[in-house]
């Protein structure tokens, strides 16, 4: 089979474990010399928010949404056995002890290796997340951009 030299990953989920899986694959693919595009939509968008609160004008519901959702890659809990954050803390400790890269480290490493990250503008609009609240180095686009990239990719994942 021909090597496409390209991978695309849809980051739909915002939980720590799922996001780690996505970012480990992205880092690995980039390290194999592949071009990698990650498309962040819905809960996955929260991973790309800045850690600090950015003052932007929002409607009441948008504000509530923004307040309730985790800000940045250092915040999310586990998809299973989270136990109100206890599970997350235990997992983070184990991963640190075993020298596994943290989610913010994996994100930074992916960006440094040139992984392209696209934020879905439609879900940003729905969830009331503004560009100013997002980390640097992102592209803002919609489903057609993602599909265009996926057409050329040999592997496409939905996480």
């Amino acid at each position: 089979m021909a090597d496409s030299g390209k991978k695309t990953i849809i980051m739909f989920s915002g939980e720590l474990d799922k996001a780690m899986a996505g970012f480990i694959i992205a880092n690995g693919a980039a390290a194999m010399g592949d071009e990698v595009t990650m498309f962040f939509t819905f809960w996955g968008l929260n991973l790309l928010r800045k850690d600090e609160k950015v003052p932007v004008k929002k409607g009441f519901l948008e504000g509530m949404f923004g307040w309730m959702m985790p800000r940045g890659a250092g915040k999310p809990g586990l998809s299973k056995m989270n136990f109100g954050g206890m599970g997350k803390m235990m997992m983070k400790k184990i991963m640190k002890d075993k020298n596994v890269n943290s989610l913010p480290e994996l994100l930074a490493s992916a960006q440094a290796m040139g992984v392209k990250m696209i934020a879905c503008t439609m879900s940003m609009d729905v969830m009331g997340i503004r560009k100013e609240e997002m980390i640097d180095g992102l592209e803002f686009a919609g489903v057609a951009t993602y599909l265009g990239e996926a057409d050329q990719a040999g592997v496409n994942l939905f996480i």
Binding site: D3, I24, N27, G28, A30, A31, M32, G33, K98, N99, V100, N101, S109, M113
Partner: protein, 74 residues
């Protein structure tokens, strides 16, 4: 022809691959990269990496649960 040694001991997947990739980017064709890794998955991974990137794996051995790989940049 230069020779590089990468100490990736203690790094977990995909850390060793990223370290190897970053070193191979600054190396020139013919250069030798020696890498030491404690992540046990690396034994298989380095073979897959070389196959995919077209670099040559000239030596692969394990001593005291540490994997030593020698790669020639193509």
């Amino acid at each position: 022809m230069a020779e590089y040694t990468v100490n990736a001991r203690g790094l977990q997947c995909p850390g060793p691959l990223v370290a190897l990739f970053n070193q191979s980017k600054v190396a020139s064709p013919g250069d030798i990269i020696k890498i030491e890794v404690t992540d046990q998955g690396f034994k298989k991974d380095v073979q897959a990496w070389c196959k995919k990137t077209g670099n040559e794996l000239t030596e692969l051995k394990e001593e005291n649960s540490c994997i030593f790989a020698t790669i020639v940049k193509k």
